[in-house]
């Protein structure tokens, strides 16, 4: 349990489990997130099989009843957002990268950091245990609207719903602690000479995401307490029969829920920026514009939440206001995409695996972004709300964020994390085996949504207009694509673990990158550097004219002409 900086490293399990080193905690977050991703993926497999082949005895699962279906979709959503996207994108990359990229030896509060992981792990255990209690896991959708979520006689999961809520609340607490740590670290512990403009974009984005999270989650924590009391103690905060209002929960939830979208989007955008600049050998086009658009998006994201509620009982006059703000948020996001595309102009693009992921992120995310306009515009949302169009839309945003963005990050920083290179061939097989099936899953779902198919329905045979053969064929196509995609993930897992053993030695800076983390050993030792680096310039000084090398690490003083790279 020592958090001292002596270098005798005992490799016992306890010293690993209770380490306060930011890199170890980052890895713990990443592996927990990956394990949860497998569970979430398995859930997706189970309910997609049910949709494609209703009533089928799904291999490795069994028959999916309507109650289990609800529970599966609910927990698939919850896990993928709260236990995969958040821990991996913010906590894992944040923990691993922040001290390394801003040039300090650890987070400012190492023990708080460990505590936040431990609470997070506890929340994951609580969530998993909720699947096995009497009545099964919670099945009221990840939005958990009362009264369905508030009363056992409606949701029929007396324990599952409360455990689910408890797990989510614990997870919020973990990320509040982690977020305070991230923000404080970046604000205070930057390397000497590192100004606001010298912070790599991914760090900016993680910090902005943490701020957004912190500013929006409070009402929902209060709401979770209220809902928990409704479930277990019989209060009536959300019970219309006794003076409560269920719509209040919707507001509490979405006031957090919409900024949450940007909480996970921004880090993925940041990873993409860093990876693209390295492999296009380009300076980020208009660094400050990216920053301002990110901040603008963050601020605007607080003004749009009720577009999730257009038809769920809010006053129709309010919908007009929220349509305007929602469509306005497309401007900073579009601008950010333009900047990223402009960054490619005049580059020298190397299509390595991380670069492929980063480019795929941008290409796919744009589809997700533009389809959001259909839903933000109140008029068309009347028809498309709660349909598969919504589902396909947010998977076109969340999948690039939580899967493609994460793979870009993992494949890019893998050499730094483990000191080994990943296999490029397998990486590319995995890339195409993920991205192509991904589109094959969700393009049919867009069409189904336009065809009037609603969400969270376990079997479409009960709706004559949706039971037609052509629609069922699309469902089968999506499911088969999903299975193919899941199979290709084993290529990644194999590559990940095999490269640990027999991968090529990475050296300090295999990608010839500028940022500070590449100036130390791979993997970095405890304390990160023997002597902490200073910072002399921005992170994206690639292809500077008049220099022999096409990169210019941040830690090289101006008077040293040649880079000291490995």
């Amino acid at each position: 349990m020592s958090d001292s900086h002596d270098h005798h490293e005992s490799h016992g399990f306890m010293s690993y489990a209770f380490s306060t080193d930011h890199k170890v905690i980052g890895m713990q977050y990443m592996f927990t997130g990956m394990a949860m991703a497998l569970i979430g993926g398995f859930f997706a497999y189970a309910f997609r099989m049910q949709l494609a082949f209703p009533g089928m005895d799904v291999p490795l699962y069994g028959i999916v009843s309507s109650a289990e279906y609800n529970s599966l979709v609910t927990n698939h959503g919850t896990i993928m957002i709260f236990w995969v996207a958040m821990p991996v994108l913010i906590a894992a990359f944040g923990n691993f990268l922040i001290p390394l990229m801003i040039g300090c030896d650890d987070m400012v509060f190492p023990r708080l950091n460990r505590l936040s992981y431990q609470i997070f792990l506890l929340s994951a255990i609580v969530l998993i245990s909720s699947f096995f209690v009497e009545g099964g896991g919670f099945g009221g959708a990840w939005t958990s609207y009362p009264p369905l979520s508030a009363k056992a006689e409606y949701n029929l999961t007396p324990l599952g719903s409360s455990l689910w809520l408890l797990a989510v609340a614990l997870e919020f607490v973990a990320f509040l602690l982690g977020g305070i740590n991230f923000i404080t670290t970046v604000m205070n512990a930057r390397a000497p000479g590192m100004t606001m403009d010298d912070i790599p974009m991914v760090i900016w984005m993680i910090v902005l995401a943490s701020i957004l999270f912190m500013a929006s989650v409070g009402p929902l924590i209060a709401g979770a307490v209220m809902l928990f009391f409704d479930q277990q103690l019989g209060t009536a905060f959300f019970d219309p029969d006794r003076g409560g209002d269920p719509v209040l929960w919707q507001h509490l939830f979405w006031f957090f829920g919409h900024p949450e979208v940007y909480v996970v989007l921004l880090p993925a955008m940041g990873i993409t920026a860093d990876v693209m600049c390295v492999f296009a050998r380009k300076k980020l086009f208009a660094y400050r514009t990216v920053l301002y658009t990110a901040i603008g998006t963050g601020v605007l994201s607080f003004f749009v939440w009720a577009h999730h509620q257009f038809i769920s009982g809010i006053d129709p006059r309010m919908a007009n206001l929220f349509t305007v703000t929602t469509l306005l948020i497309s401007i900073p996001i579009a601008e950010m995409c333009f900047v990223y595309i402009a960054t490619l102009y005049g580059g020298s693009i190397r299509l390595t695996t991380p670069m492929l992921w980063a480019l795929a992120f941008l290409g796919e995310f744009m589809i997700g972004g533009v389809t959001g306009i259909f839903l933000g515009a109140s008029g068309s949302d009347i028809y498309l709300h709660d349909s598969y169009f919504v589902l396909a839309h947010f998977h076109y945003t969340f999948f690039p964020i939580a899967i493609i963005g994460v793979f870009a990050g993992i494949t890019f920083w893998y050499p730094k994390m483990f000191g080994k290179m990943m296999n490029e061939t397998m990486g590319k097989i995995h890339f195409w085996g993920t991205v192509i099936p991904f589109n094959c899953i969700f393009i049919p779902l867009f069409l189904l949504g336009i065809g009037g198919q609603h969400r969270r329905i376990y079997n479409y045979e009960h709706f004559p207009e949706l039971a037609g053969k052509s629609m069922q064929d699309m469902r089968v196509f999506a499911t088969v694509s999903l299975c193919i995609m899941l199979i290709f993930q084993f290529v990644f897992l194999y590559n990940f673990f095999a490269s640990l053993l027999k991968g090529k030695e990475a050296g300090k800076n295999p990608w010839k990158s500028n940022t500070l983390e590449w100036t130390t050993e791979s993997p970095p030792p405890h304390g990160n550097w023997k002597e902490l680096p200073n910072c002399y310039r921005g992170p994206y000084e690639y292809s500077v004219e008049g220099r022999e090398e096409d990169y210019w690490p941040q830690n090289i003083p101006d008077d040293e002409p040649a880079g000291g790279a490995a």
Binding site: S330, E335, L359, Y383, G452, R455
Partner: protein
């Protein structure tokens, strides 16, 4: 375009479809433009031996123009979409035309109940026709519906009308529609409402005036002596 998948059977269905098409055209343009430029850049600026990347900060005015101009154009598109979207929203949800008939729609786990006004055309009278999972309406008449929920949230969705409205317990939400096509169509529940959500299907029957009269007469609870006692008992039970 959407008509090929789902028929339009309400007066405003066509407007909503047109709005979706308009948005599709506007955002489709931007999406295709961006993707083409994006993929074009990837191809054009692939690594070539001896060619270094260019050093472009993007901070200078003539460079920023490439971002600023599209960004103003996006704003223009947004405004166009806002105008049409708000306009349609106003017609469908805010400004209800005077009703010819009013029906009550009640969602519960897991069925839709409908109260038709019966022969006298008024709700909450003796001759209300109460049905489960069957809504009978007359073509070309403005209907108001009073949407309620007994237990949890449900969502009254009629895809052929392009209409959707959540039913919230504790609230009575009023909406309207005017059917334009004869036939029977699906009513779905679009808001998760428990383990029977996937089976909460009802039907809407759009009938000509004659057919509708016939149906009303056939189901009039006050006409049939056999039903009289039932209704009295029902009303007693409801209190």
């Amino acid at each position: 375009m959407i008509e090929r998948y789902v028929e339009i059977a309400s007066t405003y269905g066509g407007n909503i479809d047109a709005l979706i098409l308009l948005i599709a055209a506007l955002v489709g343009f931007w999406l295709v433009l961006c993707e083409v430029v994006f993929i074009g850049f990837i191809i054009k600026f692939r690594e070539k031996p001896g060619v270094r990347g260019q050093y472009i900060t993007g901070e200078e005015k003539h460079q920023k123009r490439w971002i600023a101009i599209p960004h103003y154009l996006v704003l223009v598109c947004d405004i166009v979409i806002i105008v049409f979207a708000v306009n349609i929203w106003y017609t469908v949800k805010q400004d209800l035309p005077e009703p010819d008939v009013t029906v009550r729609i009640i969602g519960q786990q897991w069925a839709w109940s409908f109260v038709h006004p019966g022969t006298d055309g008024l709700l909450d009278t003796e001759d209300d026709i109460k049905m489960v999972d069957e809504l009978h309406v007359e073509k070309d008449k403005v209907y108001h519906f009073k949407l309620e929920a007994r237990d949890v949230m449900h969502s009254f969705s009629v895809p052929v009308f392009r209409l959707k409205q959540d039913a919230v317990p504790g609230r009575i939400i009023t909406g309207w529609f005017e059917a334009t096509k004869l036939g029977s169509f699906d009513i779905q529940c679009a808001e998760i409402c428990g383990i029977g959500h996937g089976m909460m299907a009802a039907k809407i029957f759009i009938e000509s005036p004659e057919e509708h009269q016939k149906w009303v007469a056939l189901n009039d609870p006050t006409e049939d002596s056999k039903h009289t006692s039932t209704v009295a008992a029902n009303n007693a039970a409801a209190n």
